[in-house]
């Protein structure tokens, strides 16, 4: 029993680690899509940011400069998306797809040109990464306080700063969206842009602001992947996480806190999948981790089809706004 409890704690702990980039990207998706811009380029922005973070952190030796550069590049990719679908009223899905494909090509080409390691960056030394922070007295508490002490040491302590930042980003997103004038306008621009336009607020400007915030958040997701959990960039290292985040965002019905729960649930599924591989269970037998990993996608499809509660995306999503003259 004690062992099971410990294993469970470790699973929760890795849930948080797996969920962190999903949380950042899902919040990014919320900002973008609430403003009316479909954002399937979460994946590509994350991938570019992961590469730039690792490359710059390796070059400068500082994870902070790497993070800054990554965020800038991710925002630039977002601005490209905006240039195509806000200014030129291009198709938002096509533009997002272009950025994703561009990202998977560019990161490898530039990686090879810079480092000649088949598209990887060199392994980052500990000083060029965001390392885990042991909270005070973790060992002491774990030895002396039953149950809660272990929870403190294994689950709460020992995360890097980005994990905490991801959790904070949920609160910040909630606050900005629902407690500020800016947030009200942002939500309105995704529902009824003409209303904002007649109130004298620029629809394009609002959407660009949303896209820039989304870029910053995707940048952090990428930074986390290559310089916090990972020690360098690996080709295609996002491996569909952007799409899982998109699914989590939909699962959370475009709301920050439910999206956080969805990210944690998807993270938990992945953490469990890594542990059940090959294990036999009473009654159900062996669980296939491959199918377990597909569960987030299946659940999202089922939810979108309206079989578990209704989902309504922002009303003006995907439609370029044409200002009346």
């Amino acid at each position: 029993m004690a062992d099971f409890w410990f294993q469970f704690l470790l699973a929760l702990d890795s849930t948080l680690r797996v969920a962190t980039p999903l949380i950042f990207a899902a919040m990014a998706g919320i900002f973008s899509e609430r403003s009316g811009i479909i954002d399937i380029s979460l994946e590509g922005k994350m991938l570019m940011a992961a590469f730039v973070a690792a490359a710059v952190a390796y070059g400068t030796g500082s994870p902070w400069i790497g993070a800054l550069a990554a965020i800038i590049v991710s925002v630039l990719a977002g601005l490209l998306h905006g240039f195509a679908c806000i200014i030129h009223r291009g198709n938002q899905v096509i533009s997002g797809l272009a950025i994703n494909i561009l990202a998977s090509g560019l990161t490898v080409i530039i990686g090879i040109a810079l480092f000649r390691q088949g598209g990887q960056t060199p392994t980052l030394p500990k000083s060029a990464r965001f390392n885990s922070i042991e909270l005070p007295f973790a060992q002491y508490v774990a030895d002396n306080i039953p149950i809660l002490g272990v929870v403190y040491k294994e689950l709460i302590s020992g995360h890097n700063i980005l994990v905490w930042l991801a959790l904070a980003s949920v609160g910040i997103t909630y606050y900005i969206l629902f407690k500020t004038t800016f947030g009200l306008r942002l939500r309105a621009v995704g529902e009824k842009p003409e209303a904002l336009d007649s109130a004298g607020i620029s629809v394009s400007k609002m959407r660009f602001q949303a896209i820039i915030i989304a870029g910053i958040l995707c940048g952090l997701a990428g930074v986390y992947l290559s310089t916090a959990t990972g020690a360098g960039f690996v080709k295609e290292m996002t491996a569909g996480k952007g799409y899982i985040a998109l699914a989590a965002m939909i699962f959370g019905k475009w709301r920050p806190v439910p999206a956080l729960y969805a990210c944690l649930m998807f993270g938990f599924l992945e953490a469990v999948a890594a542990r059940v591989q090959g294990a036999e269970f009473p009654i159900i037998g062996e669980i296939s981790s491959d199918l377990l990993l597909a569960l987030p996608y299946v659940l999202t499809v089922v939810l979108l089809a309206g079989f578990i509660g209704g989902v309504s995306p922002p009303r003006a999503i995907g439609q370029p706004y044409i200002k009346e003259r």
Partner: protein, 371 residues
């Protein structure tokens, strides 16, 4: 889609050409930035795609894949549906071929197995397209999101089956046993060599003819049948189709079946043509490239053939880059593909204002009509 005030030939010839040129120009700049000569790279690619021994065969082999996935995207586009699930539908098509070939191979004569396997690929692909179609038509789920999810679900199912019950015995990698003897398509070079021509070996097989046949069938379907008319009408306005007395829901479902079936048949080229067993990741992005192909080809079968040829040449020429350069790999092709989707898809109308000014200056009477 935006209404254009440009002459038709500008819309279907000059704009795609300008978009392609812009994409290649940007790719050239990037190649120059990483310290290689873009013109050398281009000439290596062209030689690899068309001139070197067997190059053309490989180019046409890849072209075949892109025709199938490009047609799949285009058919759906005509009903204003964005099917980005080509990847998953092709994977399921491969599964369909595998199930038919493994269960019937050696039991009934090979030609029948091949015909049934081709049918299997289309049916499995269609099945994987119909579900998102149904969910879009009847339950209002966004088809883009559903098809993205279905790509991942298909990939998981394939991994699960190929590493599980379908895995060949005494085999470490996740793939099925090889198909029975004779369950494979004729290679074009074999046919031509037996006719007395001397042609280099390549994986090009008679799927290429099947692909061209599908192009013709799609052209007939979209522009020469009542169903095709309804598909295009549904694309323009679902309301109009309701007034016209038929149900757009069924058109959407049917279109996704056709689209999925076409994407599924891509597996005929890869699995029946070359691999003779089902392997993981044989779709390797061809489904996504289909989007670029359909965009460049303006959703018309003839355009799609030319766009597929372009991408076939890019893929085959891109493989040549690996040998000739230290710093340029096949990933360059992925990047060029991204640029093409960007410039001929998302930014397709970037040049319209300039061109409109240019052409309306030459034809003042058109301007008067608009005013």
């Amino acid at each position: 889609m935006q209404t254009s005030r440009l002459p038709a030939y500008v819309d279907i010839l000059i704009i795609p050409f300008l978009n392609l040129l812009t994409a290649l120009f940007v790719a050239g700049i990037i190649i120059a930035i990483i310290g290689e000569n873009p013109f050398t790279a281009l000439s290596v690619m062209l030689k690899g795609a068309f001139i070197y021994k067997g190059g053309l065969g490989y180019t046409l082999f890849y072209t075949t894949n892109f025709i199938f996935t490009g047609l799949a995207v285009a058919v759906a586009f005509h009903a204003m549906l964005f099917n980005i699930g080509g990847e998953g539908q092709a994977a399921m098509g491969g599964l369909g071929i595998g199930l038919v070939a493994l269960s019937l191979g050696g039991v009934i004569p090979a030609p029948f197995v091949i015909l049934l396997a081709i049918l299997g690929s289309a049916l499995f692909g269609a099945f994987w397209g119909v579900i998102p179609g149904y969910l879009q038509a009847k339950r209002g789920s966004h088809i883009v999101i559903t098809t993205i999810m279905f790509n991942f679900i298909a990939s998981s199912i394939l991994i699960w089956l190929l590493a599980g019950i379908l895995m060949a015995p005494n085999q470490m990698s996740p793939e099925t046993a090889s198909f029975a003897d004779g369950v494979m398509l004729f290679k074009i070079h074999e046919i031509l060599n037996s006719m007395g021509f001397s042609v280099a070996r390549s994986p090009l097989n008679i799927s290429f003819a099947l692909a061209l046949l599908c192009c013709f069938a799609v052209w007939v379907l979209i522009w020469r049948t009542r169903l095709g008319y309804r598909i295009r009408a549904t694309g323009f306005s679902t309301k109009a189709s309701t007034y016209a007395g038929y149900r757009p829901e069924w058109i959407i479902i049917l279109v996704m079946a056709i689209s999925g079936g076409l994407a599924g048949m891509m597996a005929v080229n890869e699995i029946l043509g070359v691999q003779h067993r089902v392997i993981l990741n044989f779709t390797s992005g061809y489904g996504f490239t289909g989007i670029a192909v359909a965009l460049m080809g303006r959703n018309h079968p003839v355009g799609i053939i030319f766009a597929s040829l372009l991408f076939g040449a890019l893929y085959q020429g891109g493989a040549e880059l690996d040998f000739e350069f230290q710093t340029i790999t096949r990933d360059m092709v992925v990047m060029i593909q991204g640029l093409i989707i960007l410039f001929s898809g998302a930014l397709a109308y970037m040049f319209n204002p300039i061109l409109e000014r240019f052409f309306s200056a030459n034809t003042p009477q058109k301007e008067m009509l608009d005013g």
